[in-house]
């Protein structure tokens, strides 16, 4: 099996996610971009597992999913709390923690 196409697809997805994190202001969209990066990594893991013919990569992919789910719970809770206090979901608004 040739993993090239899968890896290219994973790379493209990861890049889209990374750019999304860096350029978008809406916290929800930034979150979605993070999910995109995680799933790009998952895709690469699964593709490599398939290529090597063992289950290691698949196991890691499950771990990533679980961690991502937990992270979403915490992250969304923070976003909702910030939104309640500031009436905005912009990621540039809460910038008090600085020099």
């Amino acid at each position: 099996m040739n993993p090239e196409n899968y890896i290219v697809l994973a790379g493209v997805l990861f890049t889209i996610g990374a750019i999304g994190v860096m350029v978008r202001r809406n916290a929800i969209v930034v979150f979605m971009s993070v999910e995109l990066m995680l799933n790009a990594a998952n895709l690469a893991f699964v593709a490599f597992a398939r290529m090597n013919g063992n289950l290691d990569g698949q196991v890691v992919a499950f771990f990533v999913m679980v961690v991502a789910a937990a992270e979403v719970v915490v992250g969304l809770a923070i976003i909702v709390t910030v939104f309640r206090s500031r009436r905005s979901a912009s990621i540039d608004e809460p910038n008090l923690l600085k020099y």
Partner: protein, 646 residues
Amino acid sequence: MIGNGAVIAADVAPVLEPLTAATGIFAWIWLLIALPLVGAIVLLTTGRWTNRFGHFIGVATVVIAAILAIAMLIEMMGRPADARAFEQTLYSWVFAGQFQVDVAFQLDQLSMVFVLLITIVGSLIHIYSIGYMAHDPDRRRFFGFLNLFVAAMLLLVLADNYLLLYVGWEGVGLASFLLIGFWQYKPSASAAAKKAFVINRVGDVGLSLAIMLMFVTFGSVTFESVFSSAGEASDSTLTWIGLLLLLAAAGKSAQFPLQAWLLDAMEGPTPVSALIHAATMVTAGVYLIVRSNAIYDRTVFAATAVVVIGVITMIIGAIIGSAKDDIKKALAGSTMSQIGYMVLAAGLGPVGYVFAIFHLLTHGVFKANLFLSAGSVMHGMNNGVDMRRFGALRAVMMITFGAFMFGYLAIIGIPPFSGFYSKDKIILAAFEVNLIAGIAAVIAAGITGFYMTRMFTMTFLGKARWDDDAHPHESPAVMTIPLIVLAIGSLGLGASLYYWGDIVEWLAPVTGYESRPIAISTTLLELITLATVLIGVAIAVLMYGRSVPIQPPQKVSVLTTAARNNLYDDATNDIVAVRPTWYAARFLVWFDNRIVDGAVNASAAFVGGASGRLRRLQNGFTRSYALVMVIGVIVVFGVLALVGLS
């Protein structure tokens, strides 16, 4: 009684005596040191409840040590001359690779005479101190320090290696410091103690460097191995060792140029001046030189330096002693001068070693006698020391007068008093080696006659010039009995050591002995010396016999002014050592503040400034952090791709 001592023993080369293991009574060598040490520990740690009887402990330890020493002497005299050296190893002290040092003692003929001098004169001075310090609230502490001194001094002369000797050397320095500053509430006393300590330190550096050089050269610091392999070392090494040992001796024995502390050391109680600064500690330098004879015999340069230092000190000590009105300082100048004689003799080589020790012994007795007599006078005169306020004390303190007179006749060398034998032998030995040294020794003998007669006349003869509230009286028996014993020593010790004790043959196995022919007869030389002394006496009688002004005259010669100021030794030290050190310290403070601290402060300011700018990166915008992370990851991967992963 003029002894014709031209040839009294055949020339003896110094042999390295075989050391026999200490058995019988000599197994108790360690006890000589332990006794006074225990006394010192008891007296200094037990506190007030030993105040009432503490001085008896102090006296008892030294007296028992003296009895033990006399028993050892009798035992030693019963043995053949080549079996009189004993060694006793207590335990291994330092064992670091090549460097092996034991706590071990060596008792030979040289150590023996020192042990006797220290313990017997020490005992007498301890007994005397009971009376002299009777009214001092700190008498117990005083006796503790005295015992500490005796223990350290015995360690110094009994050590079988230079490192252990160094321990004793520092110990006597410590005891000297503590006792000079005994009345530490007097600023002058504490300053004098500090001065003595600091100047001694200069000499101590010399000794420690000499020990290091010996270890590097010979691989050992025991007397036995250093002396047996001294011939293998290069000339320059031996010269350096000799000069460094001379520096050490100059510091401890108040020899030029480190003599300035001795006159100030008279701030201590008079028994201290007698024991430490006249009879024993200040002669440690002479012991060091004589003990190291194997080194000085092989280096003409260092031995000559010893002679030069001895001659200079002999003259300047005598000159200073001639101008002082303070009886103790006059005696201190005299001590310097007499030790100058010993150092001169020690530098002459095998011709003089024996007589250096001989004079050291007689001087130890008659100078202790003179100091204790002076202390007795002070005791009766409200602790006054100004001889211009004395006079006519002969009638009121006959015993003190008699003792002082015996010491006086001994030091100026009138036969048959003991100084005559020892000093004349040194003068003779000086002529055997070098004409200039001999003439200087004769001149110094003349000046000795002058200043001692001046002291004697001003104190005991003439008219009474006492303070109004002075009621001179004779001292109690506890003080006069030691004086009488020492006076008898001043009379008889010289002759008995020379004729009956055979001091030359006794010491020759350790130090070696030789005698060289000289151009004039020894009897004539002795007469010349005696005549010079009598001229000095006559001048002093003419100057001070009739009347002595109470105020010191101001119109005096340049030399007198200089001598009153100790020949400007303090001023010289100030210019040579103190001020340069002060300026160097100032420079170093500046260097530290500006350069060292400057570098530290500058780097701190740089870090502070840089971090002030760098923290601007923490701008609070999440997206720029993400950007930095991404850039960081890209950089890391880029570097890995370029360097590692390929």
